[in-house]
Amino acid sequence: MTVPLWYYLVLSGLIFLIGLVGVLVRRNIIIILLSIELMLNATNINFVAFSSYLGNLAGQVFVFFALTVAAAEVAVGLAIIIALYRHRSSINVDEFRLLKW
């Protein structure tokens, strides 16, 4: 018995929404970064599910690139957060109001 496609789509849709809401609602930058990771990983579930459903490898290739891009993103993001933390000793986005948000 195989798991039908729409199970995967509902799962990835839910994870994507959790990530989306997390970015919009949470105030801690690390949590925001994690929420964005959730969004990207929901994408990966989608791609793998579609790829196996369509019998087409392009989707799985995309996943490799998406993983690489996500890893690079975290590296740059954490560097920026550390630079900010040195000045402010805080990682709450509400503290960063020097420029009009």
Partner: protein
């Protein structure tokens, strides 16, 4: 299922500009690391040399008419791609030249700055060639990573860090939307290549997917309602980076938008035209009205940029071959006027360490050259004849009239009048108000060069636009049948 990858020497020739720039920027980085006490100015000129060589290579390709595709249609080199690559490289040269004085104020990492600028430029060159949703995703992120670092480059300046953080969070958020949108489109069509999508039937998954991709590209070009990062990021970033950010990524993202909507989605034109009409009206009106209240020249130029993108989107709303010609020409006029204006801002900012519009009081007394240059650039941005901006706006409006988009035309014309107001406020401050500190401002040679190039471009495109119009018409020749494709998709309808 197998993938075969056959590459011959003549295929790699299509990648020659990118390969050359990659090698060159590695060499520049290696030189910067290995030679101690090397003045960063030499690194800058070395970088400029490499970028200009790449530029000449592309001009030669354009002259020869070299075209082709690589890697299963993922990378395409046609005249549209060549146009946008030249566009990106031209702005890179001007940005590097205008950075030289600014970089002196960095305490560390002077050489790496040029490396990152060229790296972003390389990413944008690939964006111009993206013909596949995978390459759109990867190249978009590639070029943006360089910008994340560049925006936060002033490590000791809290403003720059904060701008970097805001840009980063919203940029990565847009990347998440883009990736999810691509996955939905892939699920509906079973392919990632634009040209293979052209004949898929419409569905909700496709519509939601492309809306997400549109939102992500909207972030890149800074169209309302995806503009929220623009003013803060422009304000906090080092000024040369702001200048780069205000022109090159917009051009490269426009290349992707044109390709995606004209090739993959030609059949759904009646639907997406509405999207661009709304985005264009919102961008023009919002950008111009909020610009009036700005006190900082970088924020003023940020909002004016949002409004200018609104004008560019009129071309996509027209959705015709002439619309795409007009976009290319408009971007060219915007490049010269915008980078010229930023060069003046950098020149003034280096000396008085301020970007407040108040500090431009009496600029004419302090430096008649800078004031006159700024006057010409601002008038071109506003669209005053006989400058480049006038021809650009005219061309865009003609494309709109062709498609009978009279509402858009009316909004565009009203917005020209609004924009005239805040540009002229700056002009008034420069020419009529008294300076607080009348000491003259000296302009360095690299910045003078950028300003002269900007002036030359603005005047030549305004007075003798013909060769450039011929160039952009030739660059979009492949879209001459876009209206026929719509008509074919709607046999009974009134498509177009």
């Amino acid at each position: 299922m197998t993938f075969d990858l056959v590459l011959s020497g003549s295929d790699l020739l299509l990648l020659a500009p990118e390969i050359f720039l990659t090698v060159w920027l590695c060499v520049v980085l290696a030189i910067d690391f290995s030679i101690k006490n090397l003045d960063h100015e030499n690194i800058a000129y070395l970088s400029v040399g490499g970028v200009i060589a790449t530029l000449l290579n592309l001009l030669w390709f354009d002259y020869l008419g070299v075209t082709g595709t690589l890697f299963h249609d993922m990378f395409v080199l046609d005249r549209l791609a060549i146009f946008f690559k030249i566009f990106v490289l031209l702005s890179t040269v001007l940005v590097i030249l205008s950075s030289i004085d600014y970089v002196k104020s960095f305490r560390f990492f002077r050489g790496e700055y040029y490396f990152l600028v060229m790296m972003s430029a390389l990413g944008m060159m690939f964006m111009a060639s993206a013909h596949d949703l995978l390459s759109v995703f990867v190249t978009l992120e590639f070029s943006t990573f360089g910008f994340y670092v560049l925006v936060a480059y002033l490590r000791d300046d809290v403003k720059s860090n904060e701008a970097g953080l805001k840009f980063f969070i919203l940029g990565v958020f847009a990347a998440g939307l883009l990736a999810y949108g691509v996955s939905l489109v892939y699920g509906e069509t079973g392919t990632l290549v634009f040209s293979e999508m052209a004949h898929t039937p419409g569905s909700y998954g496709l519509a939601i997917g492309f809306l997400m991709i549109f939102a992500a590209l909207g972030f890149k070009i800074g169209a309302v309602p995806f503009h929220s990062w623009i003013p803060d990021t422009y304000h906090g970033a080092p000024t040369p980076v702001t200048a780069f950010l205000s022109i090159a990524p917009k051009g490269a993202a426009m290349a992707i938008l044109i390709r995606m909507f004209y090739v993959a989605l030609a059949a759904f034109k009646p639907t997406w035209v509405l999207l661009f009409v709304v985005a264009s009206i919102l961008s023009m009106t919002y950008g111009n009205i909020v610009a009036i209240a700005q006190k900082n020249i970088k924020r003023l130029l940020a909002y004016s940029g949002i409004a200018q993108i609104g004008n560019v989107l009129i071309g996509l709303a027209a959705g015709t071959k002439r619309g795409s010609d007009a976009i290319l020409f408009y971007l060219l006029t915007y490049l010269f006027a915008n980078l010229g204006a930023f060069a003046v801002v950098i020149g003034v900012g280096n000396l008085i360490k301020s970007d407040e519009i108040e500090d431009y009081n009496g600029l004419n007394r302090r430096s008649p050259f800078l004031a006159a240059a700024m006057l010409i650039f601002l008038l071109s941005l506003a669209g005053v004849p006989p400058l480049a901006g006038f021809i650009g706006k005219l061309y865009i409006f003609v494309a709109a009239i062709d498609q009978e988009l009279y509402t858009l035309l009316a909004v565009g014309l009203i917005n020209i009048i609004i924009s005239m107001y805040y540009y002229l406020v700056v002009v008034k401050k420069m020419y009529i108000n008294e300076p607080v500190d009348p000491s003259p401002i000296r302009v360095s040679i690299p910045i003078k060069t950028v300003i002269y190039v900007g002036l030359a471009g603005t005047l030549i495109l305004g007075i003798y636009p013909r060769p450039f119009i011929e160039w952009v018409v030739a660059a979009t020749l492949m879209f001459s049948n876009v209206t026929d494709m719509v008509a074919a998709a709607l046999p009974h309808g009134s498509g177009g």
